[in-house]
Subunit: 327 residues, 2 copies
């Protein structure tokens, strides 16, 4: 059996309340007393029991990260990066992190909301219904990589990222540029695609033959779509993939068609995932600091839980072009 606060109380000759204070609010006990408590605790190998604490305080110091993305999970590098950021921030503040995917969210929600978590970070395409469920259960909510009114959101500067990409391509003399868009998270697709059209429009550039094109989010579909796109007459001289996986498909297609990279075709990705360095030529891509997004999301959530009232409704994390040999 583990030692309890009573054992410490007895051994150190102070009340349980004092022991409790010594651990949760050391300032409030006289140094001498505190030391006595700590000594007794050490002797007994006392560890405060977090469950009992949660019970008494009606607060668990536990938050959850729920990835709302069908099929994909923590396996998605992007969401894993966010997870990493959340994890760091949570650990640093003595919060514990529960991770789950949306998949069976009816279940997830119900277990999560049986008062075991103080707040939740929803990553990706969270249904509004889910958000309000949590809120109605008095669980604080923050969104990441998505936007919804009335909830603090953390997103990347998609528009800036796309703009930087288009700008570079334009500088390098490209006039016919296509974007190959996959069925990613709807929010992301919308943002990147409209930013692309806007950036192109501003420069009076023509969206390349085939325009912006839709494909599934896997390499195979992207490769097929790219083959199609590049075989036509007036093929674009540059293709902007809506993410790196899609861009990898474009590179494969280009190779199969015997196009030289980047001479015959420039390729740009988005996300700056680890694959960029593994491709030949290395893929130019828009870097998103996922970890930072996670850290900020966690920070917002914790601020919310601390009862702070000046939480910014929207936090935009800057993006940055990483220029490599593919353009």
């Amino acid at each position: 059996m583990n030692a309890t606060i009573y054992d410490v109380s007895r051994l150190s000759g102070v009340s349980t309340a004092t022991v409790s204070r010594a651990f949760s609010d050391p300032e409030r006990v006289r140094p001498a007393t505190r030391r006595k408590v700590y000594e007794a605790a050490a002797v007994l190998h006392y560890q405060p029991n977090a469950i009992a604490r949660a019970m008494a305080r009606q607060r668990t110091d536990k938050i959850a990260y729920l990835i709302c993305k069908k099929g994909a999970t923590i396996l998605d590098e992007f969401y894993a990066g966010i997870c990493d950021g959340i994890m760091r921030t949570a650990n640093r503040s003595d919060y514990q992190l529960l991770v789950s995917t949306e998949e069976d969210w009816r279940l997830t929600v119900s277990t999560l909301q049986s008062k075991q978590i103080d707040g939740v970070i929803l990553g990706g395409d969270a249904p509004a219904e889910l958000v309000s469920q949590f809120q109605s259960q008095n669980v604080a909510v923050v969104l990441v990589n998505n936007r919804l009114a009335g909830v603090p959101c953390v997103v990347a500067d998609e528009e800036g990222g796309v703009r930087q990409g288009v700008e570079l391509l334009a500088q390098r003399g490209h006039r016919r540029i296509s974007m190959l868009v996959g069925r990613l998270n709807p929010y992301v697709v919308r943002e990147r695609y409209s930013a692309f059209l806007a950036a192109m429009g501003e420069r009076g550039l023509s969206v390349g033959a085939g325009g912006a094109r839709m494909c599934d989010a896997d390499v195979e579909s992207a490769t097929a779509a790219a083959l199609d796109l590049l075989k036509g007459k007036d093929r674009p001289t540059a293709v902007f993939g809506a993410n790196d996986v899609i861009a990898a498909g474009v590179i494969k297609a280009a190779r199969r068609l015997g196009l030289r990279l980047p001479e015959d075709l420039a390729v740009m990705g988005y996300d700056d995932s680890t694959v960029c360095a593994m491709l030949e030529p290395e893929l130019t891509s828009v870097h998103i600091d996922c970890r930072q997004m996670g850290e900020l999301a966690a920070a917002r959530l914790m601020a919310l839980l601390d009862g702070q009232s000046d939480i910014p409704p929207l936090t935009v994390v800057p993006t940055q072009l990483r220029v490599r040999r593919s353009v």
Copy 2:
């Protein structure tokens, strides 16, 4: 305020004990009574409070996944896959999953062990000291992707994987084969490397010029090492990367040297990560079912927690060669 068991008790006219039973052991209350309870619960939107439950039962139904790998985290596709498997199994059995990295494990351990988790799955290079700390705190432990006596372990069939790879290369007529080994998890390096030597020896094949070679675990180092390896006289006709990232480096090096793939050089990877499909040519690799490893690890842990005594000390998950165009 959320409804409690008392509210349900009052509304349904039965005792709290009965309400409790109706939820945690339905068999033990008469159907009619049970129904009354459920109805009242529904009216009140009652959700059993897991914290209180944990408090009373001295058991949290919560497990943790601790990734013991410096630097890398949940971002590592391999460990993320395991995480996914654990997550599924845990959710299915109403366990909750806490995720953390080893990084600051002194802290992690102490928070984890303040009786908030029933068990822990240690992924990767877990220090024996950590294991015994948990055990001494009466927290059940299972290892994944590592082996240690006295603890149930779940690993992949590394030897079989390497053997299949070497076999294929031999079949295709390769006689000089090198392995490029990165500084991965020591357990994995040891297993893959010795399996490689054994498989080569059995077939009387010569470990290629440069033999097995060490490099850091990133693409850049792998590329540099591969350039070196391939420039020499008597270069190997095939290179087996100790994982896919390293193999990607080999491909890059080969391209830079103008070697044709697979005609001039066959490349084989290990892990069958998502990058395989993105490379050109697609990378042949040894598939490891990470999710299954996670699922099994979770299953073992849960069996342990259920007090089952016939837990196999070692579970080996089969690996399988995925042949693609790079060989």
